[in-house]
């Protein structure tokens, strides 16, 4: 499997596979929990179970990335990934704080955890080519 003519490392392939599984799991959970909520109008402990179930795919995504960093034997790709993840974490934290401040002063809704995970992933993907350009 190649992206932009470059062969993917085994660790990247596994990361893609795990991300797809986590994404699929999120879809299944969202549909399942949504249907259950619509049909049974749960309350009490069932709501906590729902919340935990909806968190599982996100834990899967975080674990996938952690496993990727552990399994990546290509030290250059590892360096690029760490640098991009630092950019992604920094920008995500800045945005989260910005929206918290806006929420306090202008009643703007805060960013949900789901949105922050998506922002983190997007910034990671966007910064990767810029980070790798430094080494060309």
């Amino acid at each position: 499997m190649r992206i932009c003519g470059e062969k993917l490392t085994a660790a990247v392939k596994r990361l893609c596979y795990r991300m797809m599984v986590s994404g699929g799991l999120y879809g299944i959970m969202a549909l399942g929990v949504g249907s259950y909520r619509h049909l049974h109008h749960p309350h009490g402990a069932a709501l906590y179970v729902e919340a935990v179930l909806m968190m599982l795919p996100f834990l899967g995504i975080i674990a996938s990335f952690g496993l990727y960093l552990y399994e990546e034997h290509d030290e250059f790709m590892y360096t690029l990934s760490v640098q991009s993840s630092l950019w992604a974490t920094g920008i995500t934290v800045v945005l989260a704080n910005l929206f918290i401040q806006l929420h306090h002063f202008a009643s703007v809704p805060v960013l949900t955890f789901r949105t922050l995970v998506v922002i983190w992933g997007l910034v990671f993907a966007i910064t990767m080519p810029f980070v790798s350009r430094r080494y060309k």
């Binding site: 470059e6 062969k7 250059f76």
Partner: protein, 66 residues
């Protein structure tokens, strides 16, 4: 850090991709090391030395010492 990777690779008519396959790293890694923008770890430097049947010092040159 300066290195003779490009010369050693050319002597064997290996492409960057071919060298990357032999080292089990990505082609980008080979390119970054060749251009001196990325310094390999000691284990990778040893793998390079073994592959080219030479010493690490014969491949990499510390610019400060030169």
């Amino acid at each position: 850090m300066r290195n003779r990777l490009r010369v050693l690779r050319a002597e064997r008519n290996w492409s960057q991709a071919e060298l990357a396959d032999r080292l089990e790293v990505s082609r980008q890694s080979v390119n970054a090391i060749e251009t001196g923008k990325f310094d390999p770890s000691l284990p990778l430097a040893f793998r390079l030395a073994r592959l080219f049947e030479t010493t690490i010092e014969a491949i990499f040159d510390d610019e400060i010492a030169s």
